[in-house]
Structure formats: structure tokens, C-alpha cells
């Protein structure tokens, strides 16, 4: 389950979220830990927030998959000279990020075994409005991988999940996930991740909708598996760190609430039976600290007030092995 605990202030809310995740039947959470929060100044770490999230997650017996991002101000250019987004990381600062990942991996050795450096680097805005280049990501990943493994040989570095997108190779908003992954492998990037994180959304299609390069659906992930296979990485493990259907009444990419439950349960069954190398299927997202008041609210499994939505109870029943949806 993908949780949203990073902006949660009170301990009891973190604890209650994690308890409900566990009670639903999930065994792992994906959580975002912003570099800017943890290392607000160069050389100064504040581990307070990740410490309590990870401690409380472990109390519930949950595996934590940590996604690390958001560049602190000190690692970005002076905004008076060059305004930049929060994701801006110049190549000369890759080593600083790698040092942070190494510090994270070392601190949580034995507690956090999976780390995802960056998020959806095939999108223009996620790559800080710089030109999206898989080869540059490989250079970045190489530094991170080596630093993290030097600090903690047990850690698993996951190749950052790519955004499922139909953008062409030189698209205005990013690059096709299929082209991007192929170029990562061609640049030798396969050596610098122990497993691959994948994002796959169903949108309005059911989970058995067949994959195709010009379609965005749940089984699009299989096209990524094909690329891995083509580059000799067939046995590398895969973690689906974001997936979901949305039931917001005013979003064109949403489905009806009944379809959302039906598709979600079918996706779990499908992933369990057909995707042998997939270790986790995590849904976006469990609960948000406040309402977004837009289509994003249609992804939540639990309301802001901790009331389980029906999809929570149906996934819980599936996890308990009870009967399926009517």
C-alpha cells in the first residue's frame, strides 16, 4: 500500500494509518521520504520523522519501501540567479544525493531494505524541467547504487518507477516509459539496480485489457517485463509501487465505485497468478492527511477521518480469503 505519512504531524495518525494498513492485509508500504526534510542543511541530518514512521511500521510488521526525493535548497542553485523546481538536481550534485541515500541506507540497515532513488524520471517535471535523458539517469543511478551498497551491502536499490505515458522519444512532457527503459538498458543501467519499481494504472480499462504500446492500462507493465527479458534481466524482481483505479465522479479517467472494487480484486488475482517476478503490488494511495478536493480523492482507500471505504473492506476480505465481490 502506498501511504502518505510524510506530511502527517501527529504520531497517533501515523500509528492508526499503519495499523489499518496491516489490518487490511497488506504486508508492505511505499512511503516517500523527502531529502529536503531530512537534510535541511549541508551536513545536518534530522531523522526524527523517518525514525518514527519506520519504527511504527515495523511495530505493525510492515516492510517499508522508501522513495527518496525532493532536493533541499542548499543543493539547488541560488533562486535569485536561477529559479528551479524542488526536483532540480544538477549533475555536479548527484554525489550529494548519493551520500544522502547512503546515509539513509546505513541508518536503517536491517529495517529498510528497499530504496527507490527518484520518481518517474521519464517525466519532464519530475526531471526538474531538464531534458529527459535516460543516459543521465544511469549516471545518477550508478553513483547512488555504489554509495548505497558501500554503506549497506544488504540494501536493494530499485530502479525508479517510470510514469506510464504515450509521449514520444522527444515529447514535450517526457518520454515513453518503454523507450526510456530500453535506453536505460542500452546505457548499461541494468547493472545499477537490484530490482525495478513499476507504476501501472488501469484508468478506465479492466485489468485483463491486453497490453499494447499505444495503450495505458494495467497490463502495460508486461511490456516493461518484455524489455527486461530482452536485456537478460528476466529474473530480476519487480515491485509495483503504484497502481490503482479511481472512482471520482467527475474525472474522465475514473470508473464506477463497483468497477473499482471489481478491477482491484481482479488485478490482485492476476498479479498473483501471472506475474511470477512481481514481489509486491502496492495501490496508490491509502489515506491523505487532508482532502485534495479533486479527482485525487477518488484513489483513497480510507477517508481523512479514518473511515474505511468499501474498497478497503473488500480488499481485506480478499486478503482473508473470503468470498469475492458479488
Amino acid at each position: 500500500m502506498h501511504t502518505r505519512l510524510v506530511d502527517e504531524v501527529e504520531d497517533w495518525k501515523i500509528w492508526r494509518t499503519l495499523r489499518m494498513v496491516r489490518e487490511m492485509g497488506a504486508t508492505a508500504i511505499v512511503e516517500f521520504f523527502p531529502w529536503a526534510y531530512i537534510q535541511p542543511r549541508e551536513g545536518v541530518y534530522d531523522w526524527h520523522h523517518p525514525d518514527r514512521i519506520i519504527r511504527l511500521a515495523r511495530q505493525q510488521g510492515l516492510t517499508v519501501i522508501a522513495r527518496l526525493g525532493v532536493v533541499p535548497a542548499w543543493a539547488r542553485p541560488d533562486p535569485r540567479l536561477q529559479p528551479t523546481s524542488l526536483n532540480y538536481l544538477a549533475p555536479e550534485r548527484y554525489a550529494d544525493y548519493a551520500a544522502f541515500v547512503a546515509a539513509f541506507a546505513a541508518r536503517y540497515r536491517g529495517e529498510v531494505t528497499h530504496i527507490i532513488p527518484w520518481n518517474e524520471p521519464n517525466l519532464y517535471f519530475e526531471w526538474s524541467f531538464r531534458r529527459v535523458t535516460p543516459e543521465e539517469y544511469v549516471e545518477f543511478l550508478k553513483l547512488v547504487y555504489q554509495a548505497a551498497h558501500a554503506a549497506n551491502p544488504d540494501v536493494q536499490i530499485l530502479g525508479a518507477a517510470l510514469a506510464p505515458t504515450l509521449e514520444p522519444e522527444d515529447g514535450a512532457n517526457g518520454m515513453s516509459d518503454l523507450i526510456y527503459l530500453r535506453r536505460v538498458y542500452e546505457a548499461g543501467g541494468g547493472a545499477y539496480f537490484d530490482a525495478l519499481a513499476v507504476h501501472t494504472y488501469g484508468f478506465t480499462a479492466p485489468p485483463d485489457d491486453p497490453p499494447a504500446p499505444d495503450r495505458l492500462n494495467f497490463r502495460r507493465a508486461e511490456l516493461l517485463f518484455d524489455i527486461m527479458r530482452a536485456f537478460g534481466d528476466a529474473d530480476k524482481l519487480i515491485y509495483i509501487t503504484e497502481s490503482s483505479w479511481n472512482d471520482h465522479p467527475r474525472w474522465t479517467n475514473a470508473v464506477r465505485p463497483s468497477q473499482r472494487i471489481e478491477y482491484t480484486l481482479a488485478a490482485l488475482r492476476y498479479a498473483e497468478s501471472a506475474w511470477q517476478t512481481v514481489r509486491k503490488l502496492c495501490f496508490w494511495f491509502f489515506r491523505a492527511p487532508t482532502l485534495y478536493r479533486n479527482y485525487m480523492d477518488g484513489y483513497a482507500f480510507v477517508t481523512v477521518g479514518f473511515r474505511p471505504r468499501p474498497i478497503y473492506e473488500e480488499v481485506q476480505r480478499w486478503a482473508l480469503g473470503e468470498r469475492d465481490a458479488p
Binding site: 467527475r250 465505485p257 463497483s258 472494487i261 473511515r307 468499501p310 474498497i311 458479488p326
Partner: protein, 276 residues
């Protein structure tokens, strides 16, 4: 006789007066700027009158509130906006846009107000004003002749809901409150209503819009919508918080429409008769 014992003391005194004068001037300018910003006259109504047009932002992809077919935009929100404009003595101009762009368009002054089935957002109350609700789109019980008005009336009964919906969520809560309640799941609200009409369920808990539209198509059914919602979600007209004068006019027009039945007539045109 020299007024100051040294030249430095005289210079210091002059500098002090200069700094004090500059501070006073700065405070005065800031005060004027603050006053001009916060106590500026509300010309929102005059602006609409001068233009002789009320510009209304709408999401034109939400049936039956507003839909665009070719050049034509129609729907209940369109008719409500037209009637408000008529009562204000101006013409109405629709600014069609996606739902995500509505509040930004209002905030930046692209439109005068929004009518687009928008529920009240408490986090926006410092920036926007909401009129009284013109429709409650929440979840209501629907039962034969309206015999079930509250969830507590359903002890030992069967309630039909759309699987996974907010109605389902509410029904599951009531499963824990009543000694006996049977919750029937259906793929769509229409199926839940059909189950009640067929006598397979005692009541349906569905959203108001689905109930009205289904009842319009099934005039023969003796089903009635409960008077009060189980889960309320009012739809409001939204204006900028500084446009109090215009908001007052719009709210008054809406209230008048409610009082003389024209609001109900518009809703009946698009949603069918209000069967309560």
C-alpha cells in the same frame, strides 16, 4: 552659543530625524497601500452592470448540469445561471472549462462566478463565497411511497446500494448500529432502484441525481425520495470573497427563485419531477 557640544552630536541628531522621517513616510505609504487593498470599494456589482453581462464559469462535461454539444451549451446549471442573470437585468455568458480550472478562473477574475455542481469546500472559505445550496446532490433513501425516511427505520429491512459507493459506505456503518440490516450490492444505482421497484429490496440508498433521473424514466414506480439526506452534499454558486455586493444580488436572486418555484421548475425540467 552652540546648540550642540560637538559637530558629531549635531550630525547624529540630524541623522536620527532623517531616519525617523523615513520610517514615518514608510509606515504612511504602507498604511495607504494596506487601506487601498483591504478597504477598497466593492465594485463587483457595478462591474457586471457596466458590462451588462454576467460571466459564469462551468464545467461543460457534467450531465445534466452543463453539457456542450457543438456550439450549444445546455443543462440545469446553464438554466439557473440564465435565470439569475435575467433577474439581475444582464445577459449571461458561459465560460466553458474543465472542472480543474474553475476556481483558478474565478480567482483570477476571468469569470464573475461559478455554477458547476460545486460542493462547499471549507478550505477555500478565505478566498471564496458560497451562496445557499441550490440542490442537495447527496445520498437519500428511496422507498415505496417514501415510507422509510431515516436509516433507523430500516431495522430488519433490506437496503440496496451501489457497490463501493458512498451509499454503500453509509450502509456498512449502519450494519454496526442496527441489530438487523441486509445490505444488497448492485453494480449501479439504477439496479439498486430497480430492485426496490421489484420488491426485492425495501429501500435504496443512492445519490439524489441518480434517483431523480431514474424516477423520471420510471414514472410508473411508486417510489419516493426521502425528505432529508442520509449524507448531504449541497451544490452552491461560488463567487470571490471580495465581491460581496454581487454575491448578495446572486443569493437574493436564488432565494427568490426558490420562493416562487422557478428553481424547482428548472430542476424538474432536467431531472424530472421531484418525487418526495
Amino acid at each position: 552659543m552652540r546648540r550642540y557640544p560637538t559637530r558629531n552630536a549635531a550630525l547624529f541628531h540630524t541623522l536620527r530625524r532623517l531616519v525617523a522621517s523615513l520610517c514615518c513616510a514608510f509606515l504612511f505609504v504602507q498604511g495607504v497601500r494596506y487601506g487601498r487593498y483591504h478597504f477598497r470599494p466593492d465594485l463587483s456589482w457595478e462591474r457586471v452592470q457596466t458590462r451588462a453581462a454576467l460571466i459564469v464559469g462551468m464545467d461543460t462535461s457534467y450531465y445534466p448540469f452543463a453539457v456542450m454539444q457543438g456550439e450549444l451549451i445546455s443543462g440545469s446549471d446553464v438554466d439557473i445561471a440564465l435565470e439569475i442573470a435575467r433577474r439581475l437585468g444582464v445577459r449571461m455568458q458561459v465560460a466553458p472549462m474543465g472542472v480543474d480550472g474553475l476556481y483558478d478562473a474565478l480567482h483570477t477574475g476571468v469569470v464573475d462566478m461559478l455554477i458547476s455542481a460545486l460542493p462547499l469546500d471549507p478550505f477555500r472559505l478565505d478566498t471564496f463565497l458560497y451562496t445557499g445550496a441550490y440542490l442537495d446532490g447527496g445520498y437519500f433513501l428511496v422507498s415505496p411511497n417514501g415510507i422509510y425516511q431515516r436509516m433507523s427505520d430500516l431495522e430488519g429491512k433490506r437496503v440496496a446500494v451501489e457497490y463501493g459507493s458512498l451509499g454503500d459506505e453509509q450502509a456498512r456503518l449502519w450494519l454496526r448500529r442496527l441489530r438487523s440490516l441486509c445490505v444488497q450490492h448492485h453494480a449501479e444505482p439504477s439496479a439498486a432502484l430497480a430492485a426496490v421497484a421489484a420488491g426485492e429490496a425495501d429501500a435504496a440508498l443512492v445519490d439524489y441525481l441518480s434517483a431523480r433521473l431514474w424516477l423520471r424514466e420510471h414514472g410508473e414506480a411508486d417510489l419516493r425520495i426521502a425528505e432529508q439526506p442520509i449524507h448531504s452534499e449541497g451544490y452552491h454558486v461560488v463567487l470571490r470573497v471580495q465581491d460581496l455586493a454581487l454575491a448578495g444580488k446572486v443569493n437574493a436572486a436564488l432565494e427568490a427563485m426558490r420562493a416562487d418555484g422557478s428553481l424547482a421548475a428548472i430542476l424538474a425540467k432536467w431531472l424530472g419531477e421531484d418525487r418526495r
